[in-house]
């Protein structure tokens, strides 16, 4: 696995260079976090019915969401897209590496590096000033870390699936948007998933998208109790495996279709 981790490391380091973007991102995410807090404050004040989450839990959920936002803003790997556009993809295939694994690790770096840059300032700021609660217990914290790592792998597997689809579409914009819409809604970044109607819950629980954000957040605040946390992490990993198998299968067929542009 070493060569893949080396590629991951190089890509990760390259992405850490974008400090200005991260700084701007932290500002934006704090701002939108406050806006979302106010929306939910209004909602909780006007509602008398008991809600599946308390307001402080929602606030924590929002801040975790703002910190991890870049885990779900994804598209087919723009690097690979550029390579396919310019034909440099030829060099990817000229390496003694498994193409799927290579792209997976590239995706993993693109997914995690921006989050790593943003997570500490956002959590620190929100924890000190904006009502983010600490993890419910040390065990919750530990499980949250594991579940967040699982979310990163799930996110990488999904985005590699998009990348692989580039072999068919070349442009990839359409499928990016479709996926983006789904994920935006179903991962819990707009409305925390527990606030969705009851009849939708089984569907949300089954779908992979909650594994990106909702699962680690609820583990963090013990909204998914610790005895069920491992099951939830299992759900994340199971979907990761499904997407990896699917992506590999599609790539296997797609390699034959590969057209190296230009030259």
């Amino acid at each position: 696995m070493k060569p893949y981790w080396v590629v991951f490391g190089a890509r990760f380091r390259a992405l850490l260079q974008y400090r200005a973007a991260a700084l701007a991102g932290v500002g934006t995410q704090l701002f939108w976090g406050v806006v979302r807090m106010m929306i939910f404050a209004a909602f909780y004040r006007s509602s008398t019915a008991p809600q599946p989450m308390t307001y402080p839990e929602v606030v924590t959920y929002i801040w975790l969401g703002q910190a991890m936002l870049l885990l779900v803003i994804f598209r087919a790997d723009p690097d690979v897209k550029t390579m396919i556009d310019t034909g440099s993809v030829a060099y990817e295939l000229a390496r003694p590496l498994d193409l799927y694994t290579l792209w997976f690790f590239r995706a993993l770096a693109s997914r995690t590096a921006p989050v790593v840059l943003r997570i500490v300032p956002v959590l620190l700021f929100a924890g000190l000033l904006l009502g983010l609660q600490p993890p419910d217990s040390p065990l919750c914290a530990l499980l949250w870390v594991v579940s967040t790592a699982a979310a990163a792998f799930l996110s990488a597997a999904l985005s590699t699936l998009l990348t692989v689809s580039l072999l068919w579409t070349l442009a990839g914009e359409g499928i990016n948007r479709m996926m983006f819409g789904l994920i935006w809604f179903l991962s819990g970044i707009v409305i925390p998933l527990p606030l969705f109607p009851d009849w939708l819950q089984p569907v949300l629980n089954f779908l992979p998208f909650r594994g990106l954000l909702d699962t680690p957040f609820r583990i963090y605040m013990n909204h998914i109790p610790t005895d069920r946390a491992l099951l939830a992490i299992g759900h994340q990993l199971a979907w990761t495996v499904v997407f990896v198998i699917l992506g590999r299968a599609i790539l296997g067929v797609g390699k034959r279709r590969l057209v190296v542009q230009g030259g």
Binding site: G87, S88, A90, L93, A94, P96, V259, V260, G263
Partner: protein
């Protein structure tokens, strides 16, 4: 035993066709028409270890497609191909470990990083052990004079500098076989010479087999013992430069510098190819008239300053070969 065997290789691409204009665009949304374009229409050749082969042809002839298939990047539609005993696209990972590739129009280096970091990355990707890597890198750095370039981010390198780094990157794992796809494209004269010199050394001294595609006929003349000419996916000619010449034409060129700018040369055995000032270029068929006779006759009958005999330039030969195919 040959290192590369290619038999009857066929690769076609589907090209979506669209009628021009708005109506065509709309119709294209509903129903697409495709046309098959044959990039390779049954190509065969084989290569022995240690050869340096020039693979030439006009744009779109199928040169790059061939190289990409040999490098395991593209999958052909039919035909047989074995490189170092492996089928490139079936055993791609083991295969590419034993080959080096350079595509002149793009780079394999990480754009934002200094070249040395790309080299180290490749060292790990190819699992070259450290002492072996050090040795190889030192050798390549000395040969290509890279020392001052190693720590500069690749995007700041000139094309020539980048090409030297790209060559290095393709050789760190000591492949016995090297594919160079237009390595001299866009380079200045000095760098071209340096690259040629390097490739020659690699081939003669290290015994690396090289396949070189190029449009630069000087590359071919300087480097290649053997030339394969391809046009529209078919091999037009395969042999030494000499064989290629004699196959296309036996003619020679005679360049004469006249004393008198307005003078002219009248001789039944020659045709004038071009004329610039004092210099007149003539062509003749050495099978019709012996070169010695012709030179003696022209020297005797015309006031001349200098004269020399040469082969027509390789460009001319290739152009005629393409012409032959077209007619």
């Amino acid at each position: 035993m040959p290192q590369i065997v290619v038999e009857n290789l066929v690769k076609k691409f589907r090209v979506a066709e669209r009628a021009p204009g708005m109506w065509g665009a709309l119709r294209g949304v509903v129903r697409r028409r495709y046309r098959d374009v044959y990039a390779l229409g049954g190509v065969s050749f084989s290569l022995e270890p240690g050869e340096l082969v020039g693979y030439i042809g006009p744009n779109g002839a199928g040169k790059s497609t061939t190289v990409k298939i040999l490098a395991g990047i593209l999958v052909p539609d039919s035909g047989r191909c074995e490189v170092l005993g492996r089928v490139p696209w079936k055993q791609r990972v083991e295969h590419v470990r034993r080959i080096g590739v350079v595509f002149g129009q793009r780079t394999q280096l990480w754009w934002d990083l200094p070249a040395i970091e790309s080299f180290e990355l490749l060292r790990d990707v190819y699992r070259v052990d450290r002492s072996r890597y050090r040795e190889k890198l030192d050798e390549l750095v000395a040969l290509l004079n890279l020392q001052p370039l190693l720590d500069v981010p690749v995007r700041q390198l000139s094309l020539g500098q980048r090409m030297r780094c790209d060559l290095t990157a393709s050789l760190l794992h000591s492949p016995p076989l090297l594919f160079l796809d237009e390595p001299t494209i866009g380079l200045d004269a000095v760098t071209k010479l340096a690259v040629r010199d390097f490739v020659k050394k690699l081939n003669r001294e290290r015994g690396v087999t090289v396949i070189l595609t190029t449009h630069d006929m000087d590359d071919i003349e300087a480097l290649c013992d053997r030339v394969v000419v391809i046009g529209e996916g078919k091999i037009l000619c395969d042999g030494t430069l000499e064989e290629l010449r004699t196959r296309v034409t036996t003619e020679r060129w005679l360049t004469v510098d006249l004393l008198d700018e307005n003078g002219s040369i009248e001789d039944p055995d020659v045709d004038v190819v071009s004329r610039e000032g004092h210099r007149v270029r003539l062509r003749f068929d050495p099978e019709r008239v012996s070169t010695a006779d012709l030179v003696a006759r022209i020297a005797a009958n015309h006031p001349i300053h200098d004269l020399f005999v040469e082969n027509p330039p390789i460009e001319e030969i290739i152009a005629r070969l393409y012409g032959e195919r077209d007619s």
